[in-house]
């Protein structure tokens, strides 16, 4: 993603403008390369295209964007080079999900913002992701526990959203579903391998399942935005995904000779309303500092 924020005030086209294309022909292609997501054509950045479920979509996009940033941290830090590539690839898929949604959100929330405005120019309180994805990178077992839960959640979420009444949302979900199934498969392989591996790997995988536990409930909270989106048959009530997600995870955990911990003494909340945990600030600082230090820079 380039750091060049698109300029809403000059965007008079009928579709959201995407990032400039790099390379020798960038000036020519900048105006020519634009998104034509199905259903997006009639929505400009102005209020006439405004739709009330932008906040719901922002939560979904922010989950993907923030987790992409966390997973990207594994590059050069994973236990083996194949995992550098795997987690980098998964991060890229999630970044793609976020990019599929941000320009569209900008076209329906009345602000006309572009993808870089959302990713690079918002402060902590303006992010609507759950706490699970912003937590600091732990050991590899921690990441596999988080990826197992998050990708199981995303498989159910995107399966449901492929039937969304909004064509753009259905299109992004249909694309993402193929990818997140693969993420789930990857996490599942590792959880089983570590759980059913050595005594040490089993102990650490089990500990990771317990550490991730307090941050799971928030995935299934029916907040105001999701209730509205579900009423409009654009989104899905998170609570309705819970049982299927748990079933997926439970099966993998059992195969890995592990135990699914039940109940946490505390739980995170507030992410969808912009209330975040301590690690979020430094995550944003690292992610945004170049874009903010050089406003409007392009390459």
């Amino acid at each position: 993603m380039s750091t060049s924020a698109s300029s809403p005030s000059t965007d008079t086209g009928t579709t959201p403008v995407t990032e400039p294309v790099t390379g020798a022909v960038s000036s020519a292609s900048e105006s020519a390369h634009r998104e034509s997501l199905p259903g997006a054509a009639e929505n400009t950045g102005a209020a006439p295209g405004a739709k009330p479920y932008a906040a719901y979509l922002l939560g979904l996009a922010d989950d993907a964007m923030v987790y992409a940033q966390r997973l990207g941290e594994w590059m050069t830090n994973a236990p083996q080079i194949e995992e550098d590539m795997a987690l980098g690839n998964i991060a890229l898929d999630l970044l793609g999900q976020a990019r599929g949604l941000y320009p569209y959100i900008g076209s329906i929330d009345g602000t006309g913002r572009g993808e870089d405005d959302y990713a690079m120019q918002r402060d902590e309180r303006e992010w609507h992701n759950v706490h699970l994805v912003e937590q600091e990178r732990g050991d590899f077992a921690d990441e596999m526990a988080r990826l197992l839960w998050f990708s199981a959640y995303q498989v159910e979420l995107h399966t449901s959203l492929t039937g969304s009444g909004d064509d753009v949302v259905a299109g992004v979900a249909g694309k993402a579903l193929k990818e997140v199934r693969y993420h789930l498969d990857h996490a599942s392989l590792w959880v089983v391998r570590l759980g059913d591996g050595t005594a040490e790997s089993h102990r650490r995988m089990q500990a990771a399942l317990e550490r991730v536990l307090p941050h799971l409930a928030e995935l299934f909270d029916d907040d105001e935005a999701s209730v509205l989106a579900a009423d409009l048959e654009v989104g899905v009530l998170p609570s309705t995904l819970h049982d299927a997600v748990v079933a997926r995870v439970a099966h993998v955990v059992e195969q890995g000779t592990l135990t699914l911990p039940d109940g946490s003494r505390w739980r995170s909340r507030g992410g969808r309303a912009g209330i975040h945990s301590r690690p979020m600030g430094s995550l944003l600082a690292e992610m945004q500092h170049i874009a903010r230090s050089h406003p409007g820079a392009t390459w």
């Binding site: 022909v25 990818e179 498969d185």
Partner: protein, 169 residues
Amino acid sequence: MNAVAVESAVAEAISRIPDPEVPVISIADLGILRDVDVDEQAHTVAVTITPTYSGCPAMEAIASRIVFEAARQGYAADVRTQLSPAWTTDWMSDEGRAALLRFGIAPPGAVPVGEPHGPVAVTLSRHVVACPRCGSADTTEIAHFGSTACKALRRCNACLEPFDEFKAI
């Protein structure tokens, strides 16, 4: 040259653009070029492409190359990205599959119908992939994710060479 020939010249130039990550296959053979609509009066061409994966970084390079190739033919290109219907390896042409094989990349198999594994995961990669070098079916997956989003890494147990597999999605 008549109008039809001119139209096919720009369309053909665009369809022949190689994929930047796997240059042995064209964007048409890969199945990511979805539509080329030439307007002879305005000398414009509307091109619709779809990404292989949501975050495919090659899309911008492909879009700029389309603009470049169209300009060489005297046309202004309008490149649109379309997500739905989602790209599938089933759209890859036979020529494209043969080109991948010659290049040493195992072409994708048929996409499994529906969800391949129900609530149980751990099975997506357990399928038979023939070695593109020696043809042996005795190959093992080394890594779920290869050098690009669209590939996995495998090794042939017969000739012992590692190779890329284009994943079926």
